[in-house]
Symmetry: D2
Subunit: 339 residues, 4 copies
């Protein structure tokens, strides 16, 4: 198998993360070109460091580059659908960060373009590749616990993003909980049919300005009869709190956080353990590598990507339903949005 | 302080539990009389064994007995309010198992009688006396975590009761979740204002006959801005699963289950730990003793009982709201029921 | 089966512990008489409280009391052998606190008297009845791990006894480690053949005056080929640290400490858990009850007591060998002492 | 700082591990040349894959290569001292796998050559760089626990090496426990003064042929008054068991194993957790990278290497003392060997 040659769109935090991972830790793939609209010397230095030979401001340079097999779309959310369509039309496989778009119509257009072109599209729901959450999914999928009854997800960030970011984030459900919505489908091995969302501003009153909340709880109904519960906070000062659990016919499986080390220090003052790893870069470092390995594998072996366009679409539907539920204080069926 | 002399109403499972605890493990209190409507030789033998000298079928024998300071009401739920009123009128302190009644009007009558008589009334929400849940409450109440944002309660029974019991149970919220509703108020240190309940029949299709569910999830809003999540199952085959958690301004506190022992067995086949203690008799054994010690202390030192009539009333309001929410598939404010 | 009637010799800390346990928590047994050489009003009040009708200064009162079936010897160590012999001659079953004596000859005399009289003798190695250590033993005894290879015991007190106590304690091996020596035999399911002991004074230089140490490590060889390691400290300020482990052909089993609760508190300052229960009264409370139940069962069902005279003898042999090893800085075979 | 250019001596398992780590995960260093006496196509393919341009059978090619700053000695143990001396004379910094040699005289020669040349010498005691063990050391070194009293090391391999390997291994103390001897010095922050070793053949009777044991326990005395206990097994079928602990004046610190994930699966059959990571490649993967980063840092910033020649020498002294102790069944002071 020849090496997969990748064009990277976006040299921000997540673009750099993928670029470095691909060029140091993913066998059989290489980022050969970086597109960055706001190109500066920092990007040039970074590209040199991780061994990306070409660098450009113009995405068209990548789209028309015959030497490039696939693109990684790590640009702002509102550009995702356009880049997917362009890349599909150029016959390139696509890895796109979440969410595809906040507008269902644009997502459907993007998926249609992918389907027409027959290229692969993978969405960056990285948590599916975390060793812990994957173990929950695999245990459920194996049938060891029988039918799932209850799915629980705790998802708390150690600290909120800057308020400037909140303004354009699409709200907590589209920005943060969307990962949990995908996780819910992944762990329940079933589709969500209804959502009820509660939200509160407990951390920073400024969230009110952005019509957003910083604390949330969501209940879900699944097609298979299971019920889901998600709780979110923008500020768990002890670290990134990412725990999942499924209870079923025959028992339950749950996973906790990864800790910096396994130490237990016992003194007259108490017993002290380590905190969870700080945030997603620390917790999901290996998962970010694993998702790209999965993408490369899907292309090389002509398999469905492990997280596909439908997965990207469904998570947005749930996020929109959650937003509507919070606004109208009532359960919202996904079918209302799909009509 | 002289010994508190107690009349026990009801010689069923919970009555026997209290009777034995009081006469073997609670200093300064003694059950001196048992009332049991269905009196048989088994009751007589048990009473002799635990040292209860008097035994009768007629509750009036206790009510008029000048030698009795307090009554323990462990009879069927629909008799609780009547016995409370009778005991209050007789000037006796009252410990009453949960719930006081399923009818708000009868609860209010009972509380009014207690208030008029100036006796103590304690309701049997035993979980408040569990070392684990109490630690969560105490941590929150201490202010160490700041304002509570999220309250989580997992409450799963190892196995459901007989279906015959389900018929007269008042439904899962009144029978089982009512403990969690009280726990929610206790842990959040705040009143519940709104409830949304989801329910499903995942374990036994027979629950449909009783218009009941065997799996439930409930979201709560609290006066202090916190959000609550409860999940219930009638069948966690690995044991009684009772975990609580509060997340607040400065961090979180959570407690897990007590295990039969701390063993870890590691072999080529895997790593094996102990299951949670089997059910409430095992898990809350010490809590049952502690709640009676609290009752005796409230009487001897003229303090408000640790779980009072209002606590009994509020839990029923929440249970009724949850039932209404499940039936009408919408959030239900407690104020709707209080009007 | 009629009630076992017990005479209690010694109204100190351990005597009171047994007396209260028997009269409140052990069905089928009752302490009916207390012997205390230094009898005072405190003893009288305590006896009244726990329901012991007779009280005397003279052990002979118990020995000749036809109404008494068994004695509990909780007096100072140097009186144990004498009381065993007197009780055996009086035809009474005997529960004796550890150690039987520090002199092998006296122990043998005591056991001979017991054998001749055909009464039961149980020694108070209470840790065998702890749910945790018992689980290790039972796992080994079941054969699940195959042949034992390594036996590990961590045994640390939260704080040392008063120096006045050290003076007459017989030294750390006879006073404290003797429990671990018994545990070693119990967990390895094999006899100890050789001992090497290391000791140090790390906590309090005053131990030097008493020719004793406050920190110790001991290696053991067992008949079955297993090797044992014990570590002791007189001061683990975080609580009573009692952990055991066996590694064998097919894997290992280990047990940790019981904690006051299962709480985990997570804040920006760290993650805090509970300390082990403070000392032996807290950790082994249920074990003290279980050992008496075992004693009553052995008598009622004519079984060998769960910890017998030979167990008492062997632990003293190991303690003596450890003392000799520490003094002479060499491995000491038990056969040297048995010759 | 310019890149550190490295010559790698030995293309076996450990050599390949370092080669790959350096060229993919250690910034500022690069293996530019591989020496392998038994050079074959596999070595060539591997060198190409990890980007090592030069490959040779002759170590002299590296020693005289002006382009090379440092050597990694990953050849058989009996060649280590010779290569250290040659590299030192050639003015190259040296990273040498453990042990330096099994002969004290040869070790001293090697260290003398290093001292004379003024180059850096680091020994591959990789466990010092494990996040867990380092936490124990750092906690002790910080003084948080006061003076160390007891140091405990559990070190068990999941499976023994081939018997052919045992023949030339130098015995369990020189081959396996040597890591623990270094760890003991590292964790106690003190020198070992005396060793008593117990050994047994519990796993494979063939060890007898090689005058070796497969199960061992060792007690250590340290200069600072602490006592150490090590237990070893060649076969812990549940995985690589690597736990350390220090108990001191003010409390204790301990670390357990890293697990594959944090899952807990609870069913009627029991509660199942993950096993420790399988063996040293899995457990110490990050530590292998960290030790090389430490080596590069020592060179670039002219610091003493984190594990130096004296550390290499002392571990061998302890291993020799342990061997002598096992053979003669007596405590052996290191001073006996140093005379």
């Amino acid at each position: 198998m020849s090496e997969l040659r990748i064009g990277l769109i976006g040299g921000g935090r997540i673009g750099k993360l993928h670029g470095k991972n691909i060029n140091t830790a993913v066998p059989g793939a290489k980022v050969v070109s970086l597109v960055e609209a706001m190109l500066d010397d920092g990007h040039r230095a970074w590209a040199a460091e991780v061994g990306i030979p070409k660098i450009t401001k113009d995405p068209a340079d990548i789209m028309k580059d015959k030497d490039i097999d696939a693109v990684f779309i790590c640009s702002p959310t509102d550009t995702h659908a356009d880049f997917i369509i362009q890349a599909a039309q150029a016959g390139k496989h696509i890895f796109c960060e979440k969410p595809i778009h906040t507008d269902i119509g644009r997502i459907k257009e993007a998926i249609a373009a992918v389907d027409k072109a027959g290229v692969k599209l993978q969405i960056g729901f990285v948590r599916r590749f975390d060793h812990n959450h994957k173990k929950v999914h695999d245990t459920v999928a194996s049938g060891r616990l029988g039918k799932p009854h209850i799915v629980k997800i705790t998802s708390r960030d150690p600290e909120g993003p800057p308020l400037s970011y909140i303004a354009g984030s699409g709200g907590i459900f589209m920005d943060m909980t969307i990962h949990d919505f995908d996780m819910a489908r992944y762990l329940a091995c079933s589709e969500v049919t209804e959502v009820t969302a509660y939200g509160a501003i407990n951390i920073d009153p400024e969230y009110k300005k952005y019509d957003d909340v910083d604390t949330a709880a969501i209940m879900l109904k699944f097609e298979n009869g299971a019920i889901g519960l998600i709780d979110n906070s923008r500020a768990a000062h002890y670290g990134y709190d990412q725990r999942t659990e499924v209870h079923g016919d025959k028992g339950s499986v749950l996973v906790g956080n990864d800790l910096a080390d396994t130490s237990v220090i016992s003194t007259a003052d108490g017993v002290f353990c380590e905190k969870p790893t700080w945030f997603f870069l620390e917790r999901y470092n290996n998962a970010f590598i694993a998702e790209v390995i999965g993408f490369v594998d899907a292309i090389n072996n002509n398999k469905n990507p492990p997280v596909d366009g439908k997965d990207g679409l469904m998570a947005v539907y749930i996020a929109l339903a959650a937003g509507k539920s919070l606004k109208e204080n009532r359960p919202v069926k996904l079918s209302e949005l799909m009509a």
